[in-house]
Subunit: 409 residues, 2 copies
């Protein structure tokens, strides 16, 4: 007997038929004799519908009340699934965030889980019932409803798995695992049987949409064994899916595990910035104060003049805000002009094997060069290399890198 947390996303519970399907999947696991906790998102489309209601009231909708409104979506799906399980002959009870409780920080709309009490969940499991919990929500120390921000249901599932010492946290989604690259774009993409937390973390933050970054972090910190499974395929579960686990648990380690591509960033270049100490700090602290995440940064060396060019990338959604901020700091950080470019793609290769394999970057750059793909910006970490190229060449780059690194062994 294992203790298993099963998490299903909005698409998996997007209609009554799909909720019945989830009920059958949960039943098959429960019938094997396991203790089962289910974590759900809102029915697909529901969160957007609720967000639109709040936007119709005000662009400046109270964050506290936003969480009250939006969290109702998950409340509906857990009630429906718990009743569907009953109908399916299984004892089940929903447990809302405030009932457990799932305690979070006071940051409404993007709260962090701080503690999860396990008593009520354990009691329900002891009664041989399935416990059905809404993802994405909790309560603050002030007793108000909070939400974790979009995609937070994965994080809820992992945090609950950690709190109740679950053996597995199974993330059911509309794909059947983690792939070496996006299988919709590269038919040769292979499903990975196992991937390390570190690799998954890089892949999640670099555009692989299978798991939410914070959920992988939480799994890594708490050493929760994550499995990515499909809620649609009808496969033998033993053979299917991807296990996200510790690096040591992976025998057959490739040098490069995955290739990702993201079109979500844009590039800002400040031309002719006066080159003196503290300038970079001023620029990037003003962005971070406004919650704009800067990803890649390049500063060209200035030789002849006392000015330099600074290039950085940020999410496309934040471009207008970032331009405003750059305008505001112009008195403190004099620069000649500002260029923006949204037609860029960030291509990354990821693999813990890079640590012990020299020459991966060199090989990457020569593959791209052979294919006439110009590299704009480079950024590296221990287990990944990211480059910025023109978005028109993204598909070609991913195909070439995937072919060379993943398939050439």
């Amino acid at each position: 007997m294992s203790r298993i947390v099963m998490k299903f996303g909005g698409t998996s519970v997007g209609s009554i038929d799909r909720i019945q399907n989830v009920s059958n999947i949960v039943k098959s696991v429960y019938d094997e004799g396991h203790e089962v906790v289910v974590v759900l998102s809102a029915m697909a489309g529901e969160t957007d519908r609720l967000i639109n209601l709040t936007k119709d009231i005000s662009d400046n909708f109270s964050p506290e009340e936003y969480d009250v409104v939006i969290s109702s979506g998950e409340q509906v799906s857990v009630g429906l699934l718990a009743a569907a399980l009953n109908e399916n002959g299984i004892g089940a009870s929903s447990c809302l965030g405030w009932q457990i409780p799932i305690l979070t920080s006071n940051d409404h709309k993007s709260a962090r889980i701080e503690a999860i009490k396990s008593e009520l969940i354990n009691k329900i499991l002891k009664d041989k019932k399935v416990c059905v919990i809404p993802g994405f929500q909790g309560i603050t120390s002030e007793g108000r409803v909070s939400t974790l921000g979009r995609g937070g249901s994965d994080t809820s599932a992992v945090a609950i798995a950690a709190a109740i010492n679950a053996d597995y946290c199974d993330i059911y989604t509309d794909v059947d695992g983690v792939y070496t690259t996006d299988p919709n774009k590269v038919p040769e993409a292979k499903r990975l049987d196992k991937v390390s937390y570190e690799e998954m973390l890089e892949m999640a933050s670099l555009g692989a949409k299978v798991l939410q970054t914070r959920s992988v972090e939480t799994a890594m910190t708490n050493n929760v064994a994550l499995r990515v499974l499909s809620s649609f395929a009808n496969e033998n579960k033993e053979d299917a899916g991807t296990i996200v686990t510790e690096e040591d648990a992976i025998n057959d380690q490739r040098v490069v595990t995955g290739v990702t591509s993201s079109l979500n960033d844009c590039k800002i270049t400040l031309i002719g910035v006066r080159d003196k100490p503290g300038i970079a700090a001023k620029i990037f602290s003003s962005l971070s104060e406004n919650n704009i995440n800067v990803d890649m940064i390049v500063q060209n060396i200035s030789e002849s003049s006392r000015t330099t060019d600074i290039t950085f990338t940020i999410p496309k959604d934040d471009l207008l805000d970032a331009e405003k901020i750059m305008e505001q700091i112009k008195d403190d950080v004099p620069y000649e002009s500002l260029l923006t470019d949204s037609n860029i793609a960030k291509i990354s290769i990821i693999g813990v094997g890079m640590r012990s394999n020299a020459g991966v970057a060199a090989k990457m750059f020569s593959i791209l060069s052979e294919n006439d793909i110009n590299i704009d910006v480079i950024s590296t970490s221990e287990i990944k290399i990211s480059i910025l190229i023109s978005n028109e060449q993204a598909e070609k780059a991913v195909n070439m890198l995937h072919q060379s690194f993943i398939l050439d062994r």
Copy 2:
């Protein structure tokens, strides 16, 4: 400064525009310096949408989970209104049933309010904020979400008004008060300035849809001053609406205050029932055990034979269930045949003045007789007389009675 509970129904919060309208009404009352608590229903149509989801899962949907699903509707409307009030420049905070808490019995889907803690509401009012509370919901002693059954928001409002010692409980609805009869059918209908709790109770249970019966009961028990006001009309509030209050507070008392008509009942007649003690008890206890409310009962006197005919009325919705039950008890209660009739109308005249005015029933019967309206069944209480007639004659009967009793003074 008064302390006022303002309750708005589903139609009043049925769209973003209407929520903004409610926000303006609340603001106008708040700006007069009053302490304001708002109680809301779910947005019109939302409760039905949620109920349909539960029906699609199962005809036998778990009552506990039903309450979890359905209560989400009010959660959305309170969040939206609280934020709209903020947008309108007024401090406001939503307070869900479990936050207050509103403690109820364990009867899921039709719970009764048992206690309401006033601390949180008082704290919000002390902070000069409007407190926005979802009607219709609470939590059980087991800490699970409960709902009061349909229309329960009125009851929530009155119970909250009693708990916090409010000066008024204002029920905002889509009509501007309580009328002598349905103004949509009888143009001569007059709005009543004041009506007694007892009369309102009879009118509510006899088909006037302005207030829910249980809410009037709760108001009467706790002596809460109820006002029925329109959330659409833009009248001077002092002149408008109907006050539901104690009989003694009404100076200008008519003999008949209102005429109501209801098409919601059907009639069942058991022909040839063996006439012996305990038969009636057996019939009606079997119905009551199945939560079927019997209204009027007539038993014809048997003269020549040892059998009798028993006629009673029940809500149309329960007809199929009642027929099944009558079939089941046939062994214990032998009868020859069962007749049903859904083409009936119940017409009632109500007025506390009847207590001290003889001849009201005689006048009623002669008016009907003069108009060739045949009376099928009669039932009376201290302050009302109800009759059953053919539904084709309902409109005529109401018009004639209204004309004679209400307008002939």
